[in-house]
Amino acid sequence: MKPLRKPVQLKILSVPSHLPIVRAALEKMCELIGFESEVAGNVVLSVDEALTNVIRHAYEGKEDQPIDIVLTPLCGQEPDGLRIELRDYGRHVDPGRIRSRDLADVRPGGLGVHIMTECMDSVSFSPGEGGGTQLTMVKRCKQCASKQETMK
């Protein structure tokens, strides 16, 4: 199989029942890039948390709103990895106000941002042009180069 080079683009609506479909696609992409199973699980969880936040907060539960997802393999870079971009067109949240909460405070909710920052190498929020938010996350993968090499 040829190594992954080009981005994969997904467009979904803000429907919770679409989340398992994104998770399955992302799991497969992580496998093809060469992430270890545990790391792939963390990447999938991070994207799921980000999408959950979009549905709950940016779109306030409305189920007919667009979410664009771009998964870009970072090939030929040291180390290789995956860049994930999520774009919503909903209520923009000031990035300065997006932060994980104190985990010693045991209560429901507010864990999504902590999970993302804990599991990914970089997480950045920025205002989207024309409204909404652009979230970019990167996960690097030291062993991915060798995996991709064997696929050539």
Binding site: L19, G41, L45, L103, V106, R107, H114
Partner: protein, 119 residues
Amino acid sequence: MTRHAPSGSPVRSVRWDGKTAVVEVAGEIDLNCSNEFQGDLLKLLDHRPDRLVLDLANVTYMDSSGIASLVKLLSRSRKGGVGLRLAAMRDRVRSVFEITRLDTVFDIRPTVADSLEPS
């Protein structure tokens, strides 16, 4: 006695062992079903068990909305004097508890049998 919940809910069945309710949970627990999951679990407290044991062996995925449901259940259980034990988690589910540091808050047991042991 075992009660089977309607399909679609992550709570698949409830078996009573004396005053302990052993709850079989299965599937992927995310935003799609976490409200239903939480509702089903909180309803069990109405039966006034001494202890709830959640058998998570067949839970293949859980995100923070599922975790939030369990935190809510833990809070209500503590207020009602009900013990809560989580049993037989898969590695990926356990990993979410570790990332959120909640593995030290919940009573997590390797098996259901272990969860039925006295305190």
